[in-house]
Symmetry: D3
Subunit: 238 residues, 6 copies
């Protein structure tokens, strides 16, 4: 059984960076879960604060919760909100334990999250670090032990806003052409500036251009790019 | 149609480094071709020269040809010998054109060859360079052109003798458990020292141990390791 | 006196990859020269061969010459064609000497060319290698010598089609907003598929988005990205 | 308005590693601020402890404060002391918040600090980490938000004692010839062993030698070297 | 006086990864100390938990203590147990101070520990980080200071289970042929699965094969591999 | 028997970059041989051309030969001149064979040469490439073969003029304090500008400073730095 876990620093990241892959996975019969570490209520809710600088953080969280839930519904995925706060997000041993528990309970076969480096976002690298450690603690050293031990999930970073300065080097392009309408619909729920929808639509088309050049597969219209953190084990070289 | 091309600097390399994957590919219905750039008659035929230092290079080539043909027959693969000479192997524009022609005619979907770096073998990096250039010349820039243009094949380096000092970092493990008996039979044709068969049998088992730890797939008994030179285009993240 | 030399593997590369920077430099009073190593007549003239597969290479070169000259005229730059052939481009000691002579005569303060690596183009890395060596031979070791010695020019790689797999990591973004109309006009001379003009227009906008995020300079509308190969010497940290 | 912020782990680092650039920036009309995270009272005050092993840490701090203030006065820069302690320096969420506040208040356009790695100093990498995180928290994700958001400052590492083992690769040389007398005067205030003044005078001359060889600018007599952490946005390639 | 300190995350790591080098050092007259940060009671004691899932952690620790002590006795080395817990191991300022004290008291000339990266073990990278920081705090900046300052020890990572994905690149092979019987005897004390003893015996033989190929020294039968973190200072290039 | 081979692109490089290590090796009873690929008559004889721009290349070679021979005599080393020409140096299969023969005849245990990269010298990287290939061809794959096979020599790059931009990362510092007077005497034979002798004297002192900080060995007064290209095989970790 394929199971996909997406760990999103703020409540919109999963849509921009992996929405097509989530929708595709649901279509392929996989079980999926999105975990939003925070709502991005302070640092990533620009439009809401611009509309009304006197809002409370609580009211921003409510709006962001509703938006993310709508996007999740469009994809057909489960979603969970940890409300860890943003700018600064703070990681503690308890929060690592909470995330370890979630991974141990869900038993994902694949995890997607942010990159280890991002010179324009303080929270994305923390999401990476928390995921790296919680994943290790949930799957142990591959031997019987004092605690529940899941099979080690594959894991990938999804694409950051500026790939090169985040040391993002994609090694896996997923063809999301068949579900791109869902990604557009979900992006339109996020209440972000219109240009962001254009930006990520264009990105989907450009990564598809790359995928066509690499593979010769001429029917890839939209793609998402990922970087794996582990070798692939397979039964065929093709 | 899956088509595998293996470009081997000397006439035994394809057996030690990718024999299981060749046999597996044949079993899976792929078309396969091994191209041996040289017989390794001067630098890689130690046992033959030790037996009889007065041999001629020509006689060594004949023996090496027969051995490699036997191994290819066990795998069920086509094989071709270019007889470019070894220690030193010399690359020229004409030889690049010859290899480009072979790639253009065979139209592989996957190419396997040596690593770019090998501080203990002067010919392996040349095989890499020749393959890199011939592959590029055969598949062009992805647009219509004055010459035949094949779809760009994926390509990988197979495992060198000392991985770390060759900057070999495997990202793909192929499970070859079901055909490992063929790899052993082929290795035993090569007339090499017995310890080499043991060395590569042990390597198959160790890479399988790694593959099990990475994936949790407990039934991998033997594996071969490869490093890809291009991203993978896929329809699923699983 | 600022002098810009652009070394372009095929006769269209300089437009897509550095046209804005050439136009900007001309506007700023610099002297500029574009050197096209080949016309790209075999591998990069897809539209012409698709229109008429029976063309001769000579006729393709003539058309490509005219197109590149028109683009150069729009930018207001000098241009020179070396006609070295493409797919394969071949480099010889004589060709290196020819390029060394050109660099020594023009005495550029900045050189732009391709990246050292490009897994989808066999000629681009050769242009890089030829430039690297000719630049070194023209400027010597910084001491008096038996031959003319120019001041060492700065040099940069311009952006390849797929930056990450070419190991392209931009460290310099040039704001080309004020001349972007000229870049569009020049791109429209190249007789390429319409999508390429869109592709590079979009790229200009995206690199400007990155430049704005990096610098906070909100009025950058279009930018080109470069990677330097040498440290910068400056009189100020700002 | 150019504004330079220098974040110095101990109260002498800013003099050895960036004194010329501070003086030059003041001369060029920039506003400058040096922040000393600690006095280096335990681990970097060897001469004082050698003179008198029975001193108290408090008395060492007073002497170091006076020395650093004198150096700052020579450069004409503001200076601030955070007294975080050294060997070990400890970083907490509160200290990150304190540094974030300082950056947000000063609104630097350029920040200078230590390298991420230093196998001979436990505090320098912490200064790097604190600066990296505080910078990110002060400038946000480039959108309107719940808190004050400054324009993202450029930032650089200055030169460590042993560049290669700190992975320091300079990409920017600042000509400090015109203010080198001030750097010497400031170094002479620091009460360090005489050989250190010689060491850093020689370093200034050697980096100038490199700068001359790179650029052909023959009048650079003294230089300081820096490594940038972000691309440069510019209006010209020259 | 040569003094070797081995810092082992769990109480068996020192045997598999550096047992031969410990035994060899003792034979050569060095003083040696093994410090086990934890017993590996939760995550690395698979055989014990498989035998009896109802054991307590305390009882596992007792068994592991006895096993490690036996191995240490075979090597003839001192050993110390810090009982920091495993899965998760947690590092605090106090624990860093404890390790700093141990290093300062023992004054090692060489330290061995884990790699900085291990995608299959959460505790190994922590052991690396703790060692890196404690080593720096114990040896200071090389000047007189407020606290005891030892001469900076060389330090190395020993070989992890999967070298390539841990970025382990060995630069030092120690010939352990003369003491390999002791390493086997010690491995047999560890109560681990039999295959692990075979795995590490095979590893010793393979690294010896590499060592013979690198050096031409034909009598190396077993070797252990290490990666240094600092340059070597020597009186001879041979 | 220790045997040191130094492969010097131009006839002065061996003095500046490895003179101390040659002298030290002679003192230690090793056999040594310096091979000068060219005289550096065109690009590295600035002082001679400045004195008299009308000299012939032949006359420059004679002077350079005498100078290098004097330096070799001071060190007590054999020296050989291949006269391959400089700026450009050209490498051919015949020249590789010539160098292979020299290596095979001398049977060095250690080889020293230039770095693989040097953005300010066209000949240094060629010396590296020629050495790399000739070394491999002389020592084969470690098995009996059709030709003479020497034991694989260790090999190192010596320090280039600007270490960081040549990707030079020293991992071995040789203490040359006891022979530094010979290095100064030899440098004074080279007829170069006086500042170069100062530059390399200062470099020797600075590398000794680094060596003292790394090792705690307080009596290192002068050192030369090298980067190894292969792991070290040793009988002790100390």
């Amino acid at each position: 059984m394929n199971k996909l876990l997406v760990i999103s620093a703020h409540s919109a990241d999963f849509v921009w960076r992996s929405g097509g892959t989530i929708a595709k996975s649901v279509d392929q019969g996989a079980e999926t879960l999105v975990v939003c570490l925070s709502y991005g209520e302070r640092g990533e809710s620009g439009e809401l604060w611009k509309e009304n600088p006197n809002r409370t953080e609580e009211s921003v969280k409510v709006i962001r919760h509703v938006q993310a839930q709508k996007a999740a519904d469009i994809f057909g995925t489960a979603i969970q909100f940890l409300d860890w706060g943003d700018y600064p997000m703070l990681i503690s041993d308890e929060r690592i334990a909470q995330l370890t528990q979630i991974i141990g309970d869900f038993e994902p076969t694949v995890i997607l999250t942010h990159t280890a480096k991002d010179p324009f976002n303080p929270d994305h690298p923390l999401a990476y670090q928390a995921t790296e450690r919680a994943r290790l603690l949930s799957c142990g050293a591959g031997v019987a032990s004092a605690f529940k031990n899941i099979a080690p999930p594959m894991w990938y970073s999804f694409e950051p806003h500026q790939p090169e300065i985040c040391d993002f080097k994609p090694d896996t392009f997923v063809d999301i052409s068949s579900v791109f309408d869902k990604k557009i619909a979900a992006m339109n729920c996020m209440g972000a500036q219109k240009y962001l929808v254009e930006y990520y639509t264009e990105l989907g088309g450009r990564r598809a251009n790359h995928a066509r050049r690499i593979s010769g597969q001429k029917d890839v219209k939209y793609a998402e790019a990922f970087q794996s953190h582990l070798p692939r084990v397979t039964t065929t070289i093709f």
